[in-house]
C-alpha cells in the first residue's frame, strides 16, 4: 500500500455514464492483486473531503514496448458528486492515489477452494464488472474454466465485457429492458446454469448492487456452491482506522463486524451477516 501522486493518462467516456480512467503509477500497478481497490483523492475540490474507493479494473504497461505494468485502470460510473468530479479529469491532471488496498480474490483460504471446483462463475451487476477482470485473467493463466454472467438495466450498462472475451469460455448477458441478451435479471440464466451443476463444483465470484448480491448468495446456497462476494460500503480512510466501512459478519472475532477495506472487500458469502449487518447502498 502506498500513497502516490498519479498522472491521468486518459479518461474515456463509455456508454451510460461510465468512464475508463487510466492512471500512471508504476509502483502501485506492479503490486496490485486481483480484487484490490484504490482510494482516489479528487484534486481541487475541498468540498469533497473523503477519497472515493474504486476497484482496480486492470493494470497495463504504459506503452506497447514495455511489459511491466505501469497504468492502473479504473472503470467507474457517475452516480454523485465524487464520481461527477472524476468525469472531469483530463489527461495530464494529477491526483493522489492510495493503493493497492484490501484482500482480493486470492487470499490463501479463498485459493484453497480452487482445486476443488470445475469452473469459476463470475456474476457482475452493472459497474460490479470492475472488480472481476483481473481475477478472470489470473484464473485464465491457471487454466481454470470460467463463465461470465453480466446484467444491467439496459445495454448501456453492459460495458467492457469484451475484455473478458479471451479469458472466459462463455459470456451470458442480461438486461432488464431486454435491449441486449436475456430480458430480465441476470439471476435467471444464472439459476439455469447452476441447476444443471454438481453441488460444490462451481466457485461463484459476485460483485454488483445489493439485491443482486442477495439473490446470487441465495442461489449459491440452494445449489450448494461456494461463493465469494466483493462488498461495497461507504469508506472513510480505506486503511482500517476509521471503522466506518464495517459490515456485520458471523462468528466471534473483532466483535461481529469486519472492515470491508481491510478484511475485505472480498468475503465468503456465508461469512457475511446479510440481515441487519450490511448497508443497502
Amino acid at each position: 500500500m502506498f500513497n502516490k501522486m498519479a498522472e491521468v493518462r486518459e479518461n474515456i467516456p463509455l456508454s451510460g455514464g461510465h468512464y475508463l480512467l487510466s492512471l500512471y503509477s508504476p509502483a502501485q500497478a506492479r503490486v496490485t492483486r486481483p480484487g484490490q481497490f484504490a482510494m482516489l483523492r479528487l484534486p481541487n475540490r475541498s468540498d469533497i473531503l473523503l477519497r472515493r474507493p474504486m476497484s482496480i479494473y486492470d493494470v497495463k504497461p504504459a506503452s506497447r514496448k514495455s511489459k511491466s505494468p505501469a497504468l492502473i485502470q479504473v472503470l467507474y460510473k457517475v452516480v454523485g458528486r465524487g464520481t461527477g468530479a472524476m468525469a472531469e479529469l483530463k489527461g495530464g491532471d494529477a491526483l493522489e492515489v492510495l493503493a493497492p488496498l484490501g484482500h482480493g480474490y486470492f487470499r490463501e483460504d479463498y485459493q484453497r477452494k480452487l482445486p476443488q471446483v470445475d469452473e469459476v462463475v463470475h456474476v457482475a451487476g452493472g459497474i460490479g464488472i470492475a472488480a472481476l477482470l483481473l481475477a478472470a485473467r489470473e484464473l485464465h493463466k491457471r487454466g481454470i474454466r470460467q463463465r461470465l454472467f453480466f446484467g444491467g438495466r439496459s445495454r448501456a450498462d453492459l460495458v467492457c465485457y469484451k475484455d473478458f472475451g479471451g479469458l472466459v469460455q462463455k459470456t451470458i448477458l442480461a438486461t432488464e429492458d431486454g435491449s441486449r441478451g436475456h430480458k430480465g435479471f441476470v439471476t435467471v440464466p444464472l439459476e439455469n446454469h447452476l441447476a444443471g451443476s454438481e453441488r460444490g463444483k462451481i466457485l461463484l465470484m459476485v460483485c454488483g448492487p445489493w439485491p443482486m448480491l442477495e439473490a446470487c448468495v441465495g442461489l449459491a446456497r440452494n445449489y450448494g456452491h461456494p461463493c465469494l462476494v466483493s462488498m461495497e460500503n461507504r469508506m472513510g480512510c480505506g486503511v482500517g482506522v476509521c471503522l466506518g466501512c464495517s459490515i456485520g459478519v458471523k462468528g466471534e472475532g473483532h466483535g461481529a463486524y469486519e472492515r470491508v477495506c481491510t478484511e475485505g472487500p472480498v468475503f465468503w458469502a456465508d461469512h457475511v451477516r446479510w440481515a441487519g449487518g450490511t448497508p443497502e447502498i
Binding site: 500513497n3 483523492r41 477519497r51 492510495l98 482506522v241 471503522l243 466506518g244 464495517s246 473483532h254 441487519g276
Partner: protein, 339 residues
Amino acid sequence: MKKSSSAKSKKKRGAPRPVGRKAKGEKFTPDMTVEIAGIRFKNPVLTASGTFGYGQEFAQLMDLNRLGGIVVKGISLQPMEGNPPPRIYETESGMLNAIGLQNVGAKRFLDDKLPFLRDLDTQVIVNVFGYSTEDYVRTIEILNQGEGIAAYELNISCPNTRSGGMFYGSDPKLTHEVTMASKKVARVPLIVKLSPNVTDITVFARAAENGGADALSLVNTFVGMSIDIETGKPRLSHGTGGLSGPAIKPLALRLVYQAVHAVRIPVMGIGGISSAEDALEFLIAGAKAIQIGTANFYDPRASEKVIRDLEAYCKRKRVDLNRLRGTHLGFEAAGLKRE
C-alpha cells in the same frame, strides 16, 4: 518521561529566546517542543482519537516518529462491537460518523497494540470511555499496568452511543465526578476531552479543572444529522452522528478560545485542522498543542505536513513555537516583532 526525544529537539532549555535577536539571514532553528502536564512533546502535533487507529496502520504511510504524539482509539473495559452500518456519511467539507466506539477492550489493547506503540519515539495517549464512573475507573486501573502510556484522555463526550459519554459531557456535576474519580486512580496525567454539544463550554472546562484534570482537549464531534430524501430515512443507521472535518473548524476554534480563557490548565485544540495555517489559528488562540483527526483519512500524511510547515512558519517569523501561544490580540501587542 519514558523516552528520549529526538536529537533535533535536544537542546538547552532555559529562558525563552528573544525574538528577532539574530540578524536576518542567520540560521535560526525554532524550538518546537511543548510541555503539558510534565510530558514533553517534540512538537505540538498529535493525531486525534479514532482517526489514527492504534498507529500501526499508518506506519507504511508516514514516519510515526515525527509526531508529537498519538492518541489511540477510545478504549473501554470490554471489547465493543459498534453500530450497524452505514456508519459514516460525507457532508460538505465534513463527515458524520456513528461508529459506536468499536474497540478491542483494555486488556487486548495492552497485549496486542501497546507493544508496537511503546517502541515509537512519540508520546502515546490512551483515550478512555465508559458507561459509568466505575467503568472509567476500572479501565484506567487495567491500563495502569501497561508501560509506555504518557497520559490518559477521558472521552466524556462521544455523541455516538445512547448511554455513552454524552451523559458525562453534558452535565457539569458528572464531568467533575468522573474526572475526580479517574484522577484518583490514574498513574499518568489526565486529559479531559470536552464535548462541544453544550451551551457554555467554560462551565465544563472549569468542572474538569476542579475535578483535577491536568489538561483539556477539545472539541469532540458536533452532533449532526443527514436525511436521504429518496427513502426518507437518516443516512446513518444510528440516526444522528458526530460531525468532524474542516466544516467545524471555526466553531471549534471559538470553543477552544473560550476554554483557554476559563482555566489555568493547558488546552489542546481539535477540530477541522488539516494544515499548518489551521493549526496556527488554534495555537494563537491559546491552545498549547493540537490534534489532527479527519484529515488523516483523506491525507494520511497531513500531520507530517503540518509539522513541517509549522516549523517553516516559525523559521520565517523567527520565533519559538511557544511564543505564539495566546497572541490573538496581535503579534505587536504580544511583543513579537512584525516581519
